[in-house]
Amino acid sequence: MRKEVPLIITFLAGAFFIADYFVPHTGFSHIAETINGWTIIVITFAYVLGVANVTRVNLDYIQRKGKDTPYKIILLICLLFMMTVGIVWGIAEGTIFDWFFINIYVPMQSMMFALLAFYIASAAFRAFRIRSTQAALLAITAVLVMIGRVPIGEAIWKDFSNFAEWIMNVPQLAGKRAILIGAALGAISTGLKVIVGLERTHLGAD
């Protein structure tokens, strides 16, 4: 029973939403609309669950007095602070919540992703080795696209940009389309296995 009910729910929900695409009947769409509305709410709870999990893991860590305990305490204080400020005083532009978002969250997240610029350059220098025909093709395309897509490429050769655009539109597109089709087949077969209950890893071990 504990295992069957979720499987039945999964099957009904999945089959219903596949049918929803083919059935334009108004009554049918109304049910779909209602369930969609529910999903948005349930998945929000799932998000909160994630945060609850973070809190729990960190509290555990603090209790065990690991070497990073001070950092974990800071983490929890920040979490609690941001949450309270946002829920109590609102999130509109000009609130404390917004100030912390713009001045802490934005610069830090941007910088974390920007670090990758350094890593990609270093990987290009230290690990990008043309050891086979395949790697050579990859390298040549990469360089042509890299130079062709920036203004300096056009300064070197005026049709460089058009040429890079051609690579994007023709040969690279063929490869990307094959991957797209393969991934679509993969997603459909995984989805099907989940709906008919052959794939149950998401329900956890029991």
Partner: protein
């Protein structure tokens, strides 16, 4: 027994409540509706193409899974990447140096992590015959027990359960870059001779593959996250591309649901190939109906 029946009753009650609520809503349209046109058709005639396509794919997949379940021998070619993995493992054992196996940074609900665990079990079986450590760094708590189990099973299958070392399955950090930094540390300090990166990778792929390259290890990678493949291809000795990762796990495990799905989508690909060739020829002769049939609206 009594507790079980209690849950049963509760489940039934909940189901009934859900169903009756659903029915209640179905009869009463949602309040804020301003839809003027009501539709009473039960099938959209413009969508036959998608419908038939899906029916064919569903049929193929279910058919081959059933066939595999019945024990029919379904042929899947040996994936070249598996040979590369074996060779890397062999070289590392020869040199007496550890092997590093990184199963990606996603949780167990990602099918790539599942595939990675299957391959990990097989790698463990090969490694077990020699006394080389197999280091498996882990990012998420849920993956840890599964990885331990896979490796243990591998050692048992090789008949050497006593050689299994739990300490080598290591939880590093659940922060993406801290995890990558931790693995970098392992590569620089313990100098594994073979690095295997198989699973779902994101931006850290670049950092890992680069450090591994600089230590001179043999590297084999595999992921279905297409955006990370370029970095693996340039810095690794062999890379399993996209579906090859799943194919490798199906090949190794012979599990019906993996094998059947692989076979099913293979046949679907065959049909698509035929449609592509036929369609291109027909349209070149100005025959439009075939192409038009595929138009999605």
């Amino acid at each position: 027994m009594r507790t079980l029946s209690k849950t049963k009753i509760w489940s039934l009650v909940c189901i009934l409540v859900l169903i009756s609520l659903g029915l209640a809503i179905a009869q009463e349209p949602a309040p804020a509706q301003t839809q003027s046109t009501s539709d009473s058709r039960w099938f959209d005639d413009n969508r036959w193409n998608v419908f038939l396509t899906l029916v064919i794919i569903f049929f193929l997949i279910i058919y081959f899974i059933e066939k595999a379940k019945k024990g029919k021998n379904l042929f899947v070619r040996r994936i070249a990447g598996l040979d590369a993995i074996e060779e890397a493992v062999g070289r590392a054992t020869e040199m007496g140096k550890p092997i590093l196996y990184v199963p990606g940074i996603d949780d167990m609900n990602n099918i790539q992590t599942v595939a990675s665990m299957i391959i990990l079990g097989n790698v463990a079986r090969t490694v077990a015959q020699y006394d080389t450590p197999l280091i498996v760094p882990i990012r998420l708590p849920f993956v840890l027990p599964v990885a331990e189990e896979s490796v243990k099973q591998g050692y048992m299958a090789a008949g050497r359960p006593e050689a299994f070392q739990k300490d080598n399955i290591r939880f590093i950090s659940d922060e993406q870059f801290a995890y990558a930094a931790g693995i970098n540390g392992i590569m620089l300090r313990e100098r594994p001779a073979a690095n295997l990166f198989l699973g779902s990778f994101f931006a850290e792929s670049l950092v890992l593959a680069e450090t591994g390259f600089s230590t001179g290890a043999i590297q084999v990678a595999g992921t279905a996250n297409i955006h990370q493949l370029p970095f693996f291809v340039v810095a690794c000795d062999y890379t399993l591309i996209g579906e090859e990762l799943f194919a490798a796990s199906a090949y190794l495990s012979r599990e019906p649901k993996l094998l059947g799905a692989l076979k099913g989508s293979d046949y679907a690909k065959g049909i698509i190939l035929a449609a592509l060739i036929l369609g291109a020829i027909l349209i070149s002769f100005n025959v439009e109906w075939f192409k038009d049939w595929f138009f999605v609206e």
